[in-house]
Symmetry: C2
Subunit: 159 residues, 2 copies
Amino acid sequence: MSSSPNPAPPYASLDDTDRAILAELAADGRLPNNALAERVGVAPSTCLARTRALHGCGAIRGFHAEVDPAAMGLPLQALISVRLSAHDRAVVAAFRARSVRLPGMVAVFHVAGADDYVLHVRAASADALRDFVLDHLAVDPAVQHTQTSLIFEQARGLG
Amino acid sequence: MSSSPNPAPPYASLDDTDRAILAELAADGRLPNNALAERVGVAPSTCLARTRALHGCGAIRGFHAEVDPAAMGLPLQALISVRLSAHDRAVVAAFRARSVRLPGMVAVFHVAGADDYVLHVRAASADALRDFVLDHLAVDPAVQHTQTSLIFEQARGLG
DNA sequence: ATTGAAATGGAGGGATT
DNA sequence: AATCCCTCCATTTCAAT
């Protein structure tokens, strides 16, 4: 009923082996195919084929190193809640597209509730963070209100 | 002024090559050492030594596959703001330690402001999300208040 | 400390059962 | 889907600068 009529049944064909592969690779993205195959209990060639298929269908989006932000000269992190002034599809989509390209952007969450977006950003200093908000968000006519919360500490979950 | 007197000057010795390696591996965690060496402009052996050093000093925390949550049977994501009833070090540390082990936990942010924590979680369904909040947060005496915001959409940043 | 080359080991691909 | 085998390439070590 919209312009994108679900192209494919989303992951209906994934079995336990596939999910095990996803879990292992999420935990250790550099796990070699041989070791991965052993862990999930299939032959290496099968495992390779599965992993490729998971790439292809979009279940695996990519591989990334987890880097200590301080090591890149961006020791500060913040969560910025953003309330938009309008909520039509075009405004929301445009804001998302702009946001992901902003310098220091880690993740963009479109959320339900009073606020529309939560932005996870990194910055070199308190000044840089302030400038980020002023230069990229406060000036944006689509943005009605922002609230910045400094991140004291971040930890990765295990589940 | 506390019990941990900065063990090491944090990343003072990182040069442009190191930061380039971090940036490349953050963008593509499976980039082979050869290709990585070429991109940052050093010999493979040098690159390998650098990368290992970056492991060793904690600048690289690990490698992870980015998996579509829907593929793991956890199509719902939420940000849960948590306000604690007390703010002494022991309570806060204990809450963090417990949180990271909760099922479906993606990330735990300890933030400044009215709320103390923001939890990024995944769930199989709205019911499962409700149960998560009721069973793991609402019953926790350290938790005073929670607010759950469903994530409509998430995007990775590029900066 | 970095480099280049040489040796080791593992990954990738195909054919067969 | 799994096992074997073969080829190829990346990683690693080492000597030299």
